[in-house]
């Protein structure tokens, strides 16, 4: 029994190629020195991509849950609200959500007068963008660049109807359920069962891989390639890795992959080094 025939996905449909992804997480949480920055999308970004607030909201919760151990309780957060119109209620909701993970909202940076007024009335330190500190502007702008973000670490299952997008690597400490999707510019690691959709290298990088303790995906996508799930599941499960070869997407035992495979720039795919 060769590992290729046992683990390869039976159909690789080359006529199908997934759209490359340009849209990523709307919300960003970054640490800058002592401070944590919570960066919201601009109004225009939300309009362009038809993103409702509820989605931004769900993303924020994912980020907070995922990164919970990366700060000290009681740290203060600066909200980079950009040109978003936020009223007292929305500000309160953001502060409340932050306080659930023991963070305190302290500063609000905004370019909108109404938001500044609401934030000031609610007792936060406010700065309008004209007098925005250089470093903070820098961070907000940097998010537009092509450089990958640091990995997004999620400690919950991606359930049906949830799509997590990240301009970097995604690590899921849970399952990806049917109807759920993880879309990453980098690699995807699922420390659980992968049963939904995973798209690694979503900006076109064929070198990216998808690993899961249990691979039962509906569909795998790496860069511009798609593979559908095999009809029959192997009777024993073990961690597997999906990667691009010159013949399409293949699966192999995750355990040996690093030792047995290397990436070839000429064929734009991974090669078995034996």
């Amino acid at each position: 029994m060769t590992s290729e025939s046992t683990f390869s996905i039976d159909i690789t449909d080359d006529s199908l190629s997934p759209p490359l992804v340009a849209r990523y997480s709307q919300v960003l949480l970054k640490s800058e020195g002592e401070k944590l920055l919570l960066i919201l999308p601009t109004e225009q970004e939300m309009k362009l991509n038809l993103i409702p607030w509820s989605e931004v909201w769900q993303e924020l919760k994912h980020h907070l849950q995922g990164k919970e151990q990366s700060w000290q309780a009681g740290s203060s957060v600066s909200l980079i609200a950009r040109d978003q119109l936020l009223d007292a209620r929305q500000l309160h909701k953001i502060a409340e959500t932050l306080s659930e993970v023991e963070l305190g909202l302290e500063w609000v940076y905004t370019s909108r007068r109404q938001t500044a007024v609401a934030a000031a009335a609610a007792g936060y330190s406010v700065e309008q963008q004209s007098s925005h500190p250089q470093s903070l502007v820098g961070v907000a702008e940097e998010t537009k660049s092509l450089v990958l973000e640091e990995p997004l670490y999620l400690q919950n299952t991606i359930r049906s109807g949830v799509e997590v997008r990240h301009r970097g690597t995604i690590i899921v400490l849970g399952d990806v359920n049917p109807g759920g999707a993880a879309i990453a510019a980098g690699d995807i690691f699922v420390w659980g069962r992968l049963r939904g959709i995973a798209h690694a290298g979503a900006q076109g990088n064929r070198q990216c891989r998808i690993m899961a303790l249990q691979m039962e995906p509906k569909q795998l996508r790496i860069a511009d390639m798609v593979a559908r799930a095999p009809k029959f599941l192997p009777d024993h499960v073990e961690p597997e890795v999906a990667y691009v070869t010159s013949e399409g997407i293949r699966l192999a035992k995750a355990m040996d992959f690093a030792k047995t495979h290397s990436y070839s720039k000429e064929v734009e795919g991974w090669k078995d080094s034996f």
Partner: protein, 265 residues
Amino acid sequence: MSRIIVVTSGKGGVGKTTVTSNLGAALARSGCTVALVDADFGLRNLDLLLGLEERVVYTALDVLAGECRLAQALVKDKRLKGLVLLPAAQNRSKESVQPEQMKKIVDALAKGYDYIIVDCPAGIEMGFRNAIAAAKEALIVTTPEVAAVRDADRVIGLLEAEGIDNINLIVNRLKPGMVQDNKMMSVEDVLELLGVSLIGVVPDDERVIVATNKGEPLVLYEDSSLPAIAFTNIARRLQGEKVPFLDFMAAHDNLLTRIRRMFGG
């Protein structure tokens, strides 16, 4: 402290209203005070299942509009003392109520009753938002079908995002024979996917439909049936009692399959 529980599913027709009426009756029979809230505006039918249709005078909307007091709108059950229903208006759309208004009503009820159980409409739109507004815990109802489980998964995600993480699962309409023939998801399959704790399994049974049509909660029938026991057990588990799960698969098992299992086949 009273408990505010929403019964929800995502997919329609899986048994939310049936669960709500039977749980309400079982809890009230064991001595608790229970207020059932029909949050299915526009398609109310909790009153039908409880056989209380002809007693409905006011609805939650009348309370919100100031047409009557909350106490006036509550319909008392004809069989059980301690069980009341707050009906939904049938002639209005789900958009006519706001989550904050719903929360106000339910919080007011919580002052006078041990259990507030909210029967949620299908879907995840405004009606769902209203139904979960005040809830502290949730009972997810699903049938062992791929589409229903998928929707249940989605709803669990939404509830968690709202901070409701006391979530228990009811698998309704199980057909042991079909599970055995690998034609239906097993309870284990459903649990493994959803990752929440199980509080009850109710078999598919004609008597549930008969009781529905008569407007009498099945749990109140003289001669007990498997589904009635299952509903009663859910009520007991809700109250913290440890009740072993009925083993429908074993009841269905025949000698041959048991021998096969012994040999690991």
